[in-house]
């Protein structure tokens, strides 16, 4: 793969994993699920 393609893959993977990890780590700290 080209360097640009590899850098794009790494950066996007870090963004998605980072944001989703942060969101899941915050679950339950605000609203309560009342079902």
């Amino acid at each position: 793969m080209t360097t640009g393609a590899i850098v794009t893959t790494v950066i996007m993977s870090l963004i998605f994993i980072g944001v989703l990890w942060f969101c899941f780590s915050r679950m339950g700290k605000g609203g309560k699920w009342e079902d």
Partner: protein, 503 residues
């Protein structure tokens, strides 16, 4: 008025899977990878992520939050803001209804192809590659000469369409609790299938060339307005917003439950799926380029062409396991489509109908399934593909974007963006600041109207859409005006459903 308990998801994870399943659909596989390649590879991902954060997530928070606030579907939300705005809740209901009438036909094609792939009905090797196009247009669709030549329904597609609606009825008639449980499977199965397809794609010769076309950034493209149009339009279409359904899905959340974090998880999961699907698609594109000695322009495609022509070409040319890959790919499309379909039908149409007319769930579900099936027969005819394209342009482009922009303006300026933000922040895992107000009041409507004007009016007003005869292309404006008129008529009809909702 009778007081009833609003139906609930049963678990936060059921809600998340249902919301992610509704957002993740066929477009993640057949639209996003092509746009990324077309508009500068990795550079496209910059405006795409910006669009997600400043437009997509605030819009999703608005639909979840307003649904939760009023505990009603889209028409009930706008009726709650003011009786004179109720029509703005019905217009996206018509958008959702018309989308699901043809979306269910595309799901029927996927099932038809899953069966055909088991015997590689379009052929293997170079003969199969050469015949994939005619198999789709002639054998499967029996395509006529134009939208004026409808012809009879194609029987196998009609049977699969009926089968799809039977499945949808049994998923939906017990409501959100069952939908959430089903969504756990309809989300995880296509993810698993995409992993299998990715592994198959990456082990094919030429795969890396395809990935280079997909991802290598061309930063010079960032100055091209088409790139920004492509990125914002993809965000507008990919999250299943503007189709009424997310208001209803939000209304099934308890009043003390989170909104913001769920919107972030749903949006980023959807976009991560798109990015991941691009690897499976473009590794295969690279293989076709090498196998047929053609340039990338000759094989990269979006929409129906990618799913039902380009991918079958690749399957034909694979050195082994053609039928297995074919069946898995079309089953993947089926599962990607089915949860978006029950989102459109249940959240978009059935729930608002129950709220308005006080119908039981089973009666409303049966009624909507039968009417949608009957309307969908149009798209199973020889001229159905043309009408599918015209109706798709009408509702999935204009309807979705215009109603989304108007809804953001009314919620942001009439209901109050600050009031909504304070309501959301009371209980959400992540608190949002005043930036949300300006995104909702200005950026979301401006972004959506930019897409409508730049990609729609500037093309479709001077020229008949798609090169169709003027009378057929004019149906875009006719359908928009008729559904708007019906929305005002429904506003005038007395609401018979329960207004007070207890927790």
């Amino acid at each position: 008025m009778a007081e009833v308990t609003r139906e609930r998801w049963g678990s936060r994870y059921f809600f998340l899977f249902a919301a992610i399943g509704s957002a993740v659909g066929l477009g993640n596989v057949w639209r996003f990878p092509y746009l990324t390649y077309e508009y500068g590879g990795g550079a496209f991902l910059i405006p795409w992520i910006i669009g997600l954060i400043i437009m997509g997530i605030p819009w999703m928070m608005m639909e979840f939050g307003m649904g939760r606030y009023f505990q009603r579907g889209a028409p009930g939300v706008f009726e709650g803001i003011g009786k004179k705005w109720e029509w703005l809740g019905w217009w996206p209901v018509f958008v959702a209804f018309l989308i699901v009438t043809y979306y269910s036909v595309v799901i029927a094609w996927s099932l038809r192809y899953a069966v055909s792939a088991a015997s590689m009905a379009w052929g293997v090797g170079e003969a199969g590659a050469a015949g994939a196009g005619s198999y789709f247009f002639e054998t499967v669709l029996n395509l006529s000469s134009g939208p004026g030549a409808l012809g009879a329904p194609v029987l196998p597609i009609l049977i699969f369409l009926a089968f799809v609606w039977v499945i949808l009825f049994f998923i939906m008639y017990k409501g959100a609790g069952v939908i959430g449980r089903v969504a756990v499977w309809t989300v995880t199965i296509p993810w698993a299938l995409l992993v299998v397809l990715l592994i198959r794609g990456l082990t094919l010769p030429g795969a890396i060339d395809g990935l280079n076309y997909y991802l290598t950034p061309d930063f010079g493209a960032l100055t091209n307005p088409d790139l920004w149009f492509g990125a914002f339009s993809q965000i507008a279409f990919t999250l299943s917003l503007g189709m009424a359904g997310m208001f209803a899905y939000g209304s099934f959340i308890a009043k003390r439950a989170d909104v913001t974090n769920n919107a972030f998880i749903t949006s980023f999961s959807n976009c991560a799926t798109s990015f991941f699907a691009g690897f499976a698609v473009f590794s295969t594109v690279g293989f076709i380029m090498q196998a047929l000695s053609v340039p990338v322009e000759g094989v990269s495609a979006s929409g129906l062409g990618l799913a039902f022509v380009t991918y079958p070409v690749a399957i034909s040319m694979m050195p082994a396991a053609n039928a297995v890959v074919g069946v898995l790919f079309f089953l993947c499309l089926f599962f990607l489509g089915i949860d978006s379909a029950f989102f459109l039908a249940y959240g978009g149409v059935i729930s608002p109908v129950m709220d308005k007319f006080g119908l039981s769930r089973i009666k409303a579900t049966l009624l909507v399934c039968i009417i949608a099936f009957v309307v969908g027969i149009l798209f199973t005819t020889g001229g159905g593909l043309y009408w599918l394209d015209i109706v798709d342009r009408t509702v999935s482009f204009y309807g979705l974007l215009i109603t989304g922009a108007l809804a953001s303006i009314v919620v942001g300026w009439v209901f109050g963006a600050k009031k909504l933000r304070e309501h959301i922040n009371e209980t959400s895992d992540i608190k949002v600041g005043a930036w949300f107000d300006w995104m909702l009041k200005v950026v979301v409507p401006a972004g959506l109207l930019f897409v409508v004007i730049y990609g729609g009016f500037m093309n479709d007003i001077p020229n008949a859409y798609g090169g169709y005869p003027l009378w057929a292309a004019s149906m875009i404006w006719v359908i928009l005006i008729v559904t708007l008129g019906l929305s005002f008529w429904l506003q005038a009809v007395k609401t018979r459903g329960p207004k007070e909702v207890s927790e």
